[in-house]
């Protein structure tokens, strides 16, 4: 009796485990089935996206996506890494107990709220002070960096804390100052973890949809931007703004699915890179 019960429980657990894999598998398979036919060189490297005339070139969109993602991560780096260093190495416990939960609360803000905040505050500010429409790359950078910041801070802080204390002790007993220790010992050893946090942040930024859609303008005919005040389209925002009027079974629909495939591959590559960075860091230690 007990053995039968064991077996049944085991089967149920196996079923749950496989079903989650199957779901992922079906989504990927469906996406590829719908979109694969639209992917070719003209699609990837074409400069004109004009559904009405069945022209589907997404190069400007890919370029914009990368520019927006990289820029957001760079801003997150400039603010986030020093913050992580401060939290891990310098802040007394009570300060950490205030800053860390506050930073983590940023994750909980729904992206539509952040987008709305961007649209109401950042976009008018840019329009009034820097010119242009206001809905632009810069606004996207700001909003996305706010969204990636908590991930960058928390993963980098963990990476810095994971550096064995014996290294710090060794450095301090040789008469090194705290900053010398951080610069020469702690940071080089946390390097791969910090890098991984940035790459993961990049994956987040590239895949983010709603907030960025609300602040980057989305021109009808996308172009390769020449200024950070240009309105652009990214992969995600293109799907959001066009799925409403596409016709089922049309080349347009397949092209939108193909954008999904490209996005999926891009994010998958980014995540693989992050995984590689983390693994390399482990071996180094």
């Amino acid at each position: 009796m007990r053995r039968i019960k064991e077996k049944i429980i085991e089967k149920i657990l196996l079923f749950s485990a496989t079903s989650s894999i199957l779901i992922v598998f079906f989504i990927i398979a469906f996406m590829f089935a719908e979109g694969w036919s639209a992917i070719n060189l003209d699609f990837i490297f074409g400069l004109i996206w004009h559904p009405k005339t069945n022209e589907f070139g997404i190069l400007p969109i890919i370029v914009s996506t990368i520019i927006v993602g990289v820029g957001a991560v760079l801003i997150a780096l400039v603010i986030g890494i020093p913050c992580a260093i401060f939290l891990a190495e310098f802040a007394p416990n009570w300060v950490r107990n205030i800053i860390k939960p506050s930073v983590e609360m940023l994750v909980g803000i729904p992206s539509i709220v952040l987008g709305f905040f961007g649209l109401m505050l950042i976009v008018p500010f840019i329009r009034d002070n820097l010119g242009g429409r206001g809905e632009c790359i810069l606004a996207g950078w700001i909003i996305l960096s706010i969204m990636t910041l908590p991930h960058v801070i928390s993963i980098s802080e963990d990476a810095i804390r994971a550096v064995p204390n014996s290294y710090r002790e060794a450095s301090l007993t040789l008469g090194a100052t705290k900053w010398q220790t951080v610069r020469n010992i702690t940071l080089p050893n946390a390097k791969s973890g910090i890098l991984a946090s940035l790459i993961l942040g990049m994956g987040n930024a590239v895949g983010e949809t709603m907030a960025v859609y609300m602040v980057i303008g989305n021109p009808n005919i996308p172009w390769i931007p020449t200024s950070i005040l240009d309105s652009v389209r990214v992969l995600t925002s293109t799907i959001v703004m066009e799925y409403g009027y596409m016709e089922w079974g049309s080349p347009h629909q397949h092209a939108l699915f193909a954008i999904g495939v490209v996005l999926f591959i891009l994010v998958a590559i980014i995540n693989l890179m992050a995984r590689y960075a983390i693994k390399r860091g482990m071996i180094g230690r």
Binding site: Y167, S171, L172, T173, L174, G175
Partner: protein, 284 residues
């Protein structure tokens, strides 16, 4: 009552607290100069509300090896970490009392703690070389303090590695990672790293507890030779080791100094019952 008997009387009555050594100017037991390098006066230390070191007073002689022994948890490690102010980095620690290094109180506010740690080096319990090359490990302190670069750096690193009896084993592989060395070699590299900045005192915190007997013998040998140029303080819970390497022994129990004296005297003729029970292996 003569001076001598009075001081003896004090030793007997205060044996749970301060034990004073009679100054001797003669050459004895291989101790060439008997001059106080470090003098600890009424040292107390708390971690939060735990009173770890209780009113410790003793003086450590120059160019000698002083062993700090006692059962685990008696405050040995905390005591030597008080000598280079490494307890300060632990949140919630509080120290009172004075520690004089060459007559200057290292707990006074004027002391630059980074200079102090350069003068009072430390070797930890577990070998902890940085995950850098062998050369970079030995050169770390020299670079931090801007003491040398170029040819001079190479020369100083070589000298430190020679002093730590490691040079011959690593001279052809200085660029390799320090983590590729054996445990004993890593520990000698840590000693070389400490020696490179030319300290005056070296603190050893159970330097052999993670090593095999052969590697231990090498380190002990090295410690014996180091006292020619340095003052050595070594924490150990290994009685044989204390007997083998040290000139003086301090016995700590529950944060108090129970007995302090020449190693020979303490091992042959302990004055305190606790010390006797400890060195005969009745507890510990």
């Amino acid at each position: 009552m003569t001076d001598l008997s009075r001081s003896e009387g004090r030793i007997l009555s205060n044996r749970y607290r301060t034990v004073q050594l009679s100054e001797s100017k003669t050459v004895k037991d291989g101790v060439r100069m008997v001059k106080d390098k470090i003098e600890v006066r009424n040292l107390n230390l708390w971690f939060a509300d735990r009173h770890i070191l209780q009113d410790l007073s003793l003086s450590i002689k120059s160019n000698s090896v002083t062993a700090i022994m006692g059962p685990s948890g008696c405050g040995k490690t905390t005591f030597i970490r008080a000598l280079n102010r490494m307890n300060k980095i632990i949140e919630g620690s509080r120290t009172t009392g004075e520690v004089f290094l060459d007559g200057v109180n290292i707990y006074s506010e004027k002391i630059n703690v980074f200079e102090l740690r350069k003068r009072v080096g430390m070797v930890h319990q577990k070998p902890n070389p940085f995950p850098k090359s062998i050369f970079d490990n030995a050169a770390y302190g020299l670079r931090i303090h801007n003491m040398a670069n170029g040819k001079k750096l190479e020369k100083d690193v070589e000298q430190a590695l020679r002093e730590a009896a490691l040079w011959d084993e690593v001279k052809d592989r200085l660029k390799e990672s320090a983590l590729s060395l054996s445990g004993g070699q890593q520990q000698r590299l840590c000693i070389a790293r400490a020696l490179a900045v030319k300290p005056e005192v070296i603190l050893f915190d159970e330097p052999c507890s993670a090593l095999d007997p052969a590697a231990t013998a090498k380190i002990e040998d090295l410690i014996q030779r180091l006292k020619e140029n340095y003052t050595v303080v070594i924490v150990t819970h290994n009685l044989q080791q204390a007997a083998r390497v040290s000139d003086f022994v301090a016995f700590l129990y529950l944060g108090r100094l129970i007995e302090y004296g020449r190693t020979k005297d303490i091992f042959i003729n302990p004055k305190n019952e606790l010390t006797e029970r400890y060195i005969t292996g009745k507890f510990g």
